[in-house]
Amino acid sequence: MSAVEARVPVLEARGLVKRYGVVIALDGADFDLYPGEILALIGDNGAGKSTLIKTLSGAIVPDRGEILLNGTPVHFRNPLEARRSGIETVYQDLALAPALDIAENLFLGREVRRRDIIGTLLRVTDRPRMLREARAHIADLKINVRSMKQPVETLSGGQRQGVAVARAAAFASRVVIMDEPTAALGVRESGMVLDLIREVRARGTPVVLISHNMPQVFEIADRLHVMRLGRRVATITPASHTMTEAVALMTGASSFHGTGG
């Protein structure tokens, strides 16, 4: 662990606070993500996992606290700014436009334009190039789909998640964040998505993962960030703790503080 701790976190947060009226979603939450790791965010419902992820991806602006990217403070006012800084997010179920095809979804919001005059002036898209690059990204992660021209709605749940992950992985220069990527999937498809996540890590991009599925989390994560009542209560590893101990931390049955903090 000490070797990891010595490095500078890719993404770091200190004392994040977010209130909605009387509800305190984040109550001074800290966060660290190190290069090349898969970090799982676990916690009971309402522990603040989603709110934390949303502040990191720019969807929510925290009331207090700071976020550092490679040690430099950043202030994201919207998801676009986070994306420009290289943080890509795979949202649970509102990620894709079902009627559009795979290539269009991959490049949604950053369409490649033709390089000639009609591309710059009329913003005409370079469809052949987007199809070509989409094919490469999809093949990169070994996702099995027939054609880039298939509408996303014709794909299985696992394939759709694959497209969403491929989009994030293709454009993330620093961090990929995933909110419950396997929640709606069957066993075989979940396995496929887990392989995808490992593939993303293997390509050098650290991954933050929210999941309720303990066996999955223990299978794939390098470290676990445990949240309770809007705070990080512990940082543990699959080796240092058992699933039962992790659940105890989540529910507050055990107040053990791990190596992080």
Partner: protein, 271 residues
Amino acid sequence: MVGILAIGQTLIILTAGVDLSNGSVMAFGTIVMTKLAVMHGMNPFVAIALGIAACLGFGVLNGLLVTVLRLPPFIVTLGTLNIAFALTHITSNEETIANLPDPVVFFGNTFHFAGTTITYGAVLAVALTLLTWFVLTKTVAGRHVYATGNNPDAARLAGVRTRRVLLGVYATAGLLYGIAALVLVGRTGVGDPQAGQSGNLDSITAVVVGGTSLFGGRGSVLGTLVGTLIVGIFRNGLQLMGVPAIYQFLITGVLVILAVAVDQLSRRRQA
């Protein structure tokens, strides 16, 4: 004329909206341009430009109400329908404006091609359809219209400025209604406050018969052209067969329901 209204309607329906105001907005445009040209003796081209600008203004108003106040398009355009309707009758004093200068009625002129008589207005409608098709399918802005209509949340999170897309769609539709107003004046030869008021329902019919989904994100402006032709040919044919006008409404109604039913059933089978 319905063809051009229907292009604007297609844009709006592609974003999962609907425009009830377009017929009245177009009628208001016809009164603005004819009244300025005839009663105020304004240069006809300036009068045309101001008439189109009035329609564009209504489009922008619709767009702002939908994007800034986030009101449902159905309600917004129901409101502007009544406003445009009232303004049309107030400014025209319920009178038909005749003796129009040539440029104002230009699009009613015809030419002969391959043995048939074609109005310039019809050519313009086809040209605008093709232009809109190009923009919708080949440009970034066009793809964003589809994405915004199909899944606004996903589009927004992917970095599409969905509110700007919507505002652009309503403004463009307003501009098209202004052009439709000019074509309508050409066809009727007068500024008639009653003309074109049913354009809203006719254009929705054409869009739906043309296969565009009312739920947004699916459909094509080429389909709308076909829809316009189907509805037009149907009506025309019935008229030539001597079927009373009221039955034409009956059959158009059945046509709309059939079109939506076929669309829904085929989608349900897919899902």
